[in-house]
């Protein structure tokens, strides 16, 4: 019996297989197969899926629900607001301007905006806003310290050392502990006013306040209607001269209406009417000064 043998295996590829394999190994085709076709399939699948309106909305709803479920976890909730460093009134104001309905997710809080809003308040110098562990919105406020009372055309206001409006008071009597300044534009030269007031400390019991004249220079008002007119340049030195003169010769104790220091080379005194007549009498002069 003749044994039936299979033909010996020939591993040779056919010409067609060989060509196909070479074609597939071509770099461009290879890239297309490895990246292009998967990308195309993914793109087509997504476009087909998103072609329907209901599926699109379902996806959007799903995503927003997922987002909400994360945002509303108790770890992210803010329940109350704590304000430190602010007085009663300021804290009240802050609570008023921040439109927050607690409890609130911390994802919905824009801390930078809140801080800006708080710093926008007049009595607040600076503020830091953060979310403290335990779900507390912590607002740390540094208040402005009023150093002057400014009486102007529309009322009486408190200014801090940099001249910024702090608060409005009904009258000057509300803050008798602070010095008074007055006049148009006085709030822009608070630093100078403070310097002048520091020098005027020597006669503080007599100082009634400072007046900004013509938006360019200061007058110091004393009681008994006395007035010291200070120059634009070097008002502090001028006032020091007046005070030194006063200490040496009791200038301000005398019956003087005004000390005019506007021209440094020629300080001038204005005497009161009585004093002038008295002076004439002593010098035997008549009404016309003859």
């Amino acid at each position: 019996m003749q044994q039936v043998r299979p033909a010996p295996h020939d591993p040779a590829p056919t010409r067609f297989q060989f060509r196909v394999q070479r074609w597939l190994l071509t770099p461009g085709i290879r890239f297309l197969l490895r990246a292009g076709i998967p990308a195309l399939v993914v793109f087509m699948a997504t476009s087909i899926f998103l072609a329907s309106e209901t599926r699109r909305t379902a996806v959007v709803d799903r995503i927003s629900a997922l987002r909400a479920s994360i945002e509303e976890r108790p770890e992210f909730m803010v329940n109350l607001m704590a304000i430190d460093g602010a007085g009663e009134g300021v804290a009240e104001d802050i609570r008023e301007i921040l439109p927050l309905d607690f409890p609130l997710s911390s994802f919905d809080l824009e801390l930078a905006d809140i801080r800006e809003l708080v710093e926008g308040l007049d009595p607040v110098k600076s503020a830091t806003v953060r979310i403290r562990p335990g779900g507390i919105l912590q607002v740390d406020v540094t208040e402005r310290v009023p150093v002057l009372v400014w009486r102007h055309r529309d009322g009486v206001a408190l200014l801090d050392a940099s001249g910024v409006h702090v608060d409005v008071v009904p009258s000057r009597a509300a803050r008798p502990d602070l010095p008074l300044i007055a006049g148009q534009g006085a709030d822009t030269h608070v630093a100078e006013a403070m310097d002048i007031l520091a020098v005027a400390e020597e006669v503080s019991d007599r100082v009634r306040g400072l007046v900004r004249m013509g938006e360019r220079r200061w007058d110091v008002l004393l009681d008994r209607g006395q007035r010291i007119l200070l120059p634009e340049e070097g008002p502090v030195q001028a006032l020091e001269r007046v005070i030194a003169l006063s200490e040496a010769q009791d200038l301000l104790e005398r019956d003087v209406e005004a000390v005019d220091m506007r021209l440094a080379a020629r300080p001038t005194l204005r005497m009161s009417d009585d004093a002038q007549k008295n002076w004439w009498r002593i010098r035997h002069l008549d009404e016309n000064g003859q």
Partner: protein
């Protein structure tokens, strides 16, 4: 002469293109196997920091990214005798190598062992036109070589200038830029049967590939199996393949002689097959597992089952002693080596200062071959393996891959051949036409 020149130049151009693409396939078409390597060229080879050539002998310009071997079909004595079969075998090897390399290869450099190579030594001598040896002068002296009548139907495979002499100074490797009066050159030319080359080219073309070079496999084995000093001082490399045994003689790093003996390992297998009455595949297996060339007393007692599948119990349980097997193999191996000896003698190898002989190729793995070879070929015989190259798989580092590895080295650093130089201007055929045109212009 010119069309050969043109086709070789075209192949050089292909090789340059392949280098630009950075990928080239190496194809060793042998009688017993077809090996294919895919090389990737990644920049020029650099020496290591200490300026030594390192463990890879400086061959670092390329990397083997794919390797495949397949049983050869349709190749006998190193020549293609069944085109379809060979084409299929080449396709198999190429496909597997491409698959391993994951890259498409368009250019192939091939080598084969058969086709009756014949070596010619040519020389020429010219007076220099100027004082300095220029590229053009070298082309001129090469063109002045007296080409012998190597017969119709043969083609020049290699034509390498191996030595330049300038006036009375000989042994110049590169005379360009030197001063002198008279330039002489020695050229080694190797011709093979044109049909074998055309068949191979046709097979490769049928595989949609471009032939970027073609080389003799005995030369390539010498390039990879001989170490540098052997190439420099003179040595012969004997590549014992399946159907043919190639031999090449090297001197001063140039091949100066190559020849082929049309016998190889397949003939040993055939002898075993006939002597023991077993099929070729079984004979090959017996040769590989139990073969040898030196019988000892122990071998009389070592019995080898040679089997069979006739169903006859007696026939299928045949055994032979290893001594008998050796008795069959040894005369044939001796015959091959004797033939090699006679070819070497004919080439005048015994006049060379160094008598080093290196055996490589698949059939050199027969145990005890070095002892037998030293008895026939002389004392300085060693077994050679190919150089190490980057990325060569372990399976392809055996002596059977000497040709393929040598071809990789050759692809990376080819020897200057005749056709690498421009044809001198006065030999150029277009010149006469140009002259005629000028004559017309001048006279009309």
């Amino acid at each position: 002469m010119t069309d050969l020149y043109q086709s070789q130049r075209a192949m050089r151009q292909m090789r340059r293109l392949a280098m630009q693409r950075g990928v080239v396939a190496i194809l060793d078409v042998g009688s017993s196997k077809i090996a294919c390597l895919v090389l990737r060229f990644d920049g020029t080879g650099r020496l290591s920091e200490d300026n030594s050539i390192g463990s890879l002998a400086g061959q670092t310009g390329f990397r083997v990214v794919g390797a495949a071997t397949t049983r050869s079909r349709g190749v006998q004595f190193g020549e293609i005798n069944a085109m379809q079969e060979t084409e299929r075998a080449i396709r198999t090897a190429l496909q597997a190598a491409q698959k391993m390399a994951e890259i498409r290869v368009d250019h192939v450099i091939a080598c084969f062992s058969g086709a009756g190579p014949r070596s010619y030594g040519l020389d020429a001598r010219v007076e220099l036109e100027g004082q300095v040896v220029t590229e053009n002068e070298i082309a001129r002296v090469l063109a002045a070589c007296e080409v012998p009548d190597y017969g119709a139907g043969r083609e020049v495979l290699h034509a390498q200038p191996v030595n330049f002499a300038l006036d009375h100074r000989s042994g110049l490797a590169d005379p360009r830029g030197q001063l002198g009066q008279e330039l002489a050159v020695d050229l080694h030319m190797l011709t093979v049967d044109a049909t074998a080359v055309q068949n191979l080219a046709h097979c490769i073309k049928r595989c949609d590939l471009e032939l970027a070079g073609i080389a003799s496999s005995s030369y390539m084995s010498g390039v990879s199996a001989l170490v540098e000093d052997e190439q420099e001082l003179g040595a012969a490399c004997i590549d014992m393949g399946g159907g043919a045994t190639g031999l090449s003689i090297f001197m001063k790093k140039h091949m100066i002689y190559a020849d082929t003996v049309r016998m190889g390992g397949d003939h040993v297998t055939g002898d075993i097959s006939m002597g023991l009455g077993v099929p070729m595949a079984k004979a090959e297996w017996i040769k590989t597992m139990h073969g040898g060339v030196h019988a000892t007393g122990m071998d009389d007692r070592e019995m080898i089952e040679i089997g069979g599948d006739t169903g006859d119990w007696e026939h299928d349980r045949r055994t032979v002693s290893r001594a008998e097997l050796i008795g069959i193999m040894r005369p044939r191996v001796e015959e091959i080596l004797e033939e090699v000896r006679s070819r070497l003698d004919a080439a005048g190898f015994d006049h060379l200062p160094s008598q080093q002989i290196v055996l490589t190729g698949g059939a050199s793995q027969i145990p005890g071959l070095d002892g037998l070879a030293s008895r026939i070929l002389g004392q300085q015989v060693r077994l050679g393996r190919p150089l190490r190259v980057h990325g060569l798989p372990q399976a392809a580092t055996g002596p059977g891959f000497a040709g393929a590895v040598g071809l990789s080295l050759f692809a990376a650093h080819p020897q200057d051949e005749w056709w690498d130089f421009e044809i001198p201007v006065d030999r150029y055929p277009a010149r006469s036409l140009k002259r005629a045109v000028r004559w017309f212009k001048d006279n009309w």
